[in-house]
């Protein structure tokens, strides 16, 4: 059943060899080496303007003393070297928040993927009407703006007036008081608003899997779980890679849900995540340079996570 992965891996060396041959062996065409760059140029210029330049500015500001006083010209801008980073790394709260963010994001990603994939499989197994209902429910959750969704969830789980406590018979239990309870509460909302993307994407992927393969698996007597593990998951790997990376990036950068649902970071800051922490530092306290340093750290972490993940996949013989 692991067959589909092997031919891909076996294919690769010849492909590489062919490419190498093309560069060295055949005579160069008109336009030469620059041609691909010329075609890439418009995209590169746009990327440069919209991505590289802001990231450059972010990095630059993180090395300066840059607060409101510098922006409005009350005091001169000074170079701090790694001063902002030193301040940041000395702050115990930063490490606590970083750990909480990593764990929270990991839980959100796992939750989103599990729910999204399960529902995608479910979609392929139900009839048209329930499928439509599920799709609409998913799209509704997807289309709801984060602030609205968070506020509605807050009302649903309200200690005094919320229907959830009434249905579950929890009395006036406060969901936002305990640290883990508050994180769980926010996690549920994050999963709710981000699973539709996974569901729709994976569902589209499953539709593209040849029916014969699934039929063969069914004839062999494979259970749904076994079909998923041994047939669908390997064949959908490129899609799963994309949705995982997307989810990692989104969930690591969660802001609105935490900000709205825990009132800006929870009791005594127990539910702070990196983005809300950066907001507190950068905008609320106007310490733009410290905020920029946090931004750079976040960027590096996300890049590292993504690169490690891609590398692992590459080792397993997949090309994105």
């Amino acid at each position: 059943m692991t067959a589909p992965a092997t031919p891909v891996a076996a294919d690769r060396p010849p492909v590489r060899a062919a490419r190498g041959g093309a560069v060295h062996g055949t005579p160069r065409r008109r336009g030469g080496r620059a041609t691909p760059w010329i075609y890439l140029a418009p995209a590169l210029v746009v990327l440069g303007g919209l991505l590289v330049y802001p990231v450059y500015q972010l990095g630059l500001i993180s090395f300066l003393e840059y607060t409101q006083a510098q922006v409005s010209g009350g005091e001169p801008t000074t170079f701090q070297g790694l001063g902002n980073y030193a301040t940041l790394f000395r702050d115990e709260e930063f490490w606590r928040v970083l750990l909480a963010t990593l764990l929270f994001a990991a839980a959100c990603v796992l939750g989103t993927l599990a729910v999204g994939c399960a529902l995608a499989v479910l979609l392929t197994r139900v009839r048209a009407l329930p499928r439509l209902a599920l799709m609409l429910a998913g799209l509704g959750a997807w289309a709801t703006p984060a602030v609205t969704g968070s506020t509605v969830w807050l009302l649903l789980f309200d200690a005094d007036f919320g229907p959830v406590n009434r249905v579950l018979g929890l009395g006036d239990h406060s969901w936002t008081y305990g640290r883990y309870s508050a994180f769980l509460f926010v996690l549920l909302e994050v999963v709710w608003c981000s699973f539709p993307f996974v569901m729709v994407t994976v569902y589209a992927g499953i539709r593209a899997v040849p029916a014969e393969v699934l039929e063969a698996a069914a004839l062999d007597g494979a259970s749904p779980w076994r079909v998923w593990r041994s047939v669908l998951a390997p064949m959908l790997r490129p899609i799963l890679v994309v949705v995982t990376i997307q989810s990692v990036i989104w969930d690591f950068k969660v802001f609105t849900q935490i900000y709205v649902m825990t009132g800006g970071g929870g009791i005594a800051g127990q539910n702070l995540v990196l983005n809300v922490y950066a907001y507190q530092k950068a905008f609320a306290s106007s310490q733009y340079s410290l905020g920029a340093a946090i931004g750079v750290v976040m960027l590096l972490i996300l890049l590292a996570v993504t690169l490690v993940y891609l590398r692992l996949l590459r080792r397993q013989g997949e090309e994105l």
Binding site: A69, V71, S72, G74, K281
Partner: protein
């Protein structure tokens, strides 16, 4: 492969343009210095805060402007009412871009020191001292526009908090308004045990200005020192006593921590207004909110008692000021307009229109005679108020939630008073240190 011959040329132009626009590499800094010009004609721009019910305020302001236009031919004023929620962004943007900035602004008095450090407000010490009405300004109000001994605006109105209590509940249970903070806690517990559906007193872990009077009443101070170098006073024995007194109000015998730890000032006012609390600490500016709740006609207000009988707990003197921007090109006109907007006559009218307490002691006394509701607030102001440290670090301390975090850590049982206050003091000192 038809294009390559021409494409590079176009591309070169495109890239050159992109490169040019990228040469502005350093982060933006505005000039920020005084423009030097002092024109006597032209249009002055004024930003005032948009209140919930703004019409009466506009009327008062319009009559001020009519007088201003009459006395300054050739000068005009355009007033913009900016939403309170986005004021921070608007005013920061104004400092960043003097060209589109107003000449005169209204601002919250806790922001004074920060705005001065940002280089946004003009020093009007000489004008303020020469102003014949200034001598009647209440000392705390004057302190709220003063940084390092220099005056950066005129006080516009003050806001202060006192103790609201339910007359019906107190009557039913045979209780009297508490005379000390100790009695307040006992009364609150008594109410809660007799009426478990009510909070004795609604308190909030994020309600800094409701918590600070307890600290001040026990002889504590937020910070000591002045003019630039401050040290946190949170970890002194007196301050700790006050912190202990406030945080002891959280619990199932008054205001359960699970609900009250996260509440801010507005939440406690809402709880009181909707009949869920027998007492609350709320401002004169909360009058409307309480009146429109279900407790209308069933409450009264007294000054929040101090630690000893017969004393009043020092309240935080909130409020707004009017200031002139440093970048204005109409300094003389702007200062004149500031004085008119913050004049005794205007403040009296503003009180009648909006209920904002005047910053001049004499005007305030007259106001209290016209409107008995404000008496406990005027009494509170008269007995002496406190203010946050006039340091630009305060904005940072406030924004990074140092005090709410401390109270919440204690209330939720995560830290004891000594540890939490020590940690908070350290954070405050770091902030004071970082702004130099």
């Amino acid at each position: 492969m038809k294009l390559p011959a021409r494409l590079p040329a176009r591309l070169a132009v495109f890239l050159a343009a992109a490169a040019l626009s990228a040469t502005a590499c350093a982060p933006q800094t505005s000039g920020g210095s005084a423009s030097g010009a002092d024109e006597k004609t032209g249009t002055l721009r004024v930003w005032l805060f948009q209140e919930v019910n703004n019409r009466p305020k506009e009327k008062v302001v319009d009559s001020v402007l009519a007088g201003f236009r009459k006395d300054h031919k050739g000068a005009d004023v355009s007033v913009e009412y900016i939403p309170v929620e986005t004021r921070a962004e608007r005013i920061k943007a104004a400092f960043n871009d003097p060209k589109s900035a107003p000449d005169v602004i209204e601002f919250g008095n806790t922001d004074t020191a920060g705005y001065v450090k940002d280089g946004g407000l003009a020093d009007v010490t000489a004008d303020f001292d020469a102003w014949n009405e200034a001598k009647d300004a209440d000392p705390t109000a004057r302190q709220s526009v003063t940084v390092d001994g220099k005056v950066y605006g005129a006080p516009y109105f003050v806001g202060v908090r006192a103790l609201y209590y339910r007359t019906d509940v107190f009557g039913d249970l045979g209780l009297k308004p508490p005379a000390t903070l100790g009695e307040l806690a006992a009364t609150a517990r008594e109410v809660r045990s007799a009426r478990p559906d009510l909070y004795g007193i609604a308190v909030g872990g994020a309600y800094t200005y409701g918590a600070l009077p307890f600290l001040w009443a026990h002889g504590g101070a937020l910070a000591t020192g002045k003019d630039g170098s401050y040290a946190s006073g949170l970890d002194t024995p007196a301050a700790r006593k006050g912190i202990q007194a406030y945080t002891s109000l959280f619990g199932d015998d008054n205001c359960p921590a699970a609900k009250c730890a996260g509440m801010g000032g507005n939440d406690t006012v809402t709880a009181f207004a909707s009949g869920k609390a027998a007492m609350a600490i709320a401002g004169d500016f909360s009058h409307q909110a309480v009146e429109s709740g279900s407790v209308k006609g069933k409450y009264a207000v007294v000054p929040l008692p101090g630690a000893k009988a017969g004393t009043i707990a020092p309240a935080f003197a909130g409020g707004n000021n009017i200031g002139v921007l440093k970048g204005t090109s109409h300094r003389t006109l702007a200062v004149d307009l500031m004085k008119r907007l913050a004049a005794k006559k205007t403040q009296g009218e503003l009180f009648d229109a909006m209920g904002f307490l005047p910053t001049f002691t004499d005007v305030r006394q007259q106001a209290a005679e016209r409107e008995p509701f404000v008496k406990p607030f005027v009494q509170t102001l008269a007995s002496g108020t406190e203010f946050v440290p006039a340091s630009p670090a305060w904005a940072q301390i406030d924004a990074s939630l140092v005090l709410p975090t401390m109270y919440q850590e204690i209330v939720s049982g995560r830290k004891d008073v000594a540890t939490a206050s020590e940690d908070a003091a350290k954070k405050m000192n770091d902030a004071f240190g970082s702004v130099g």
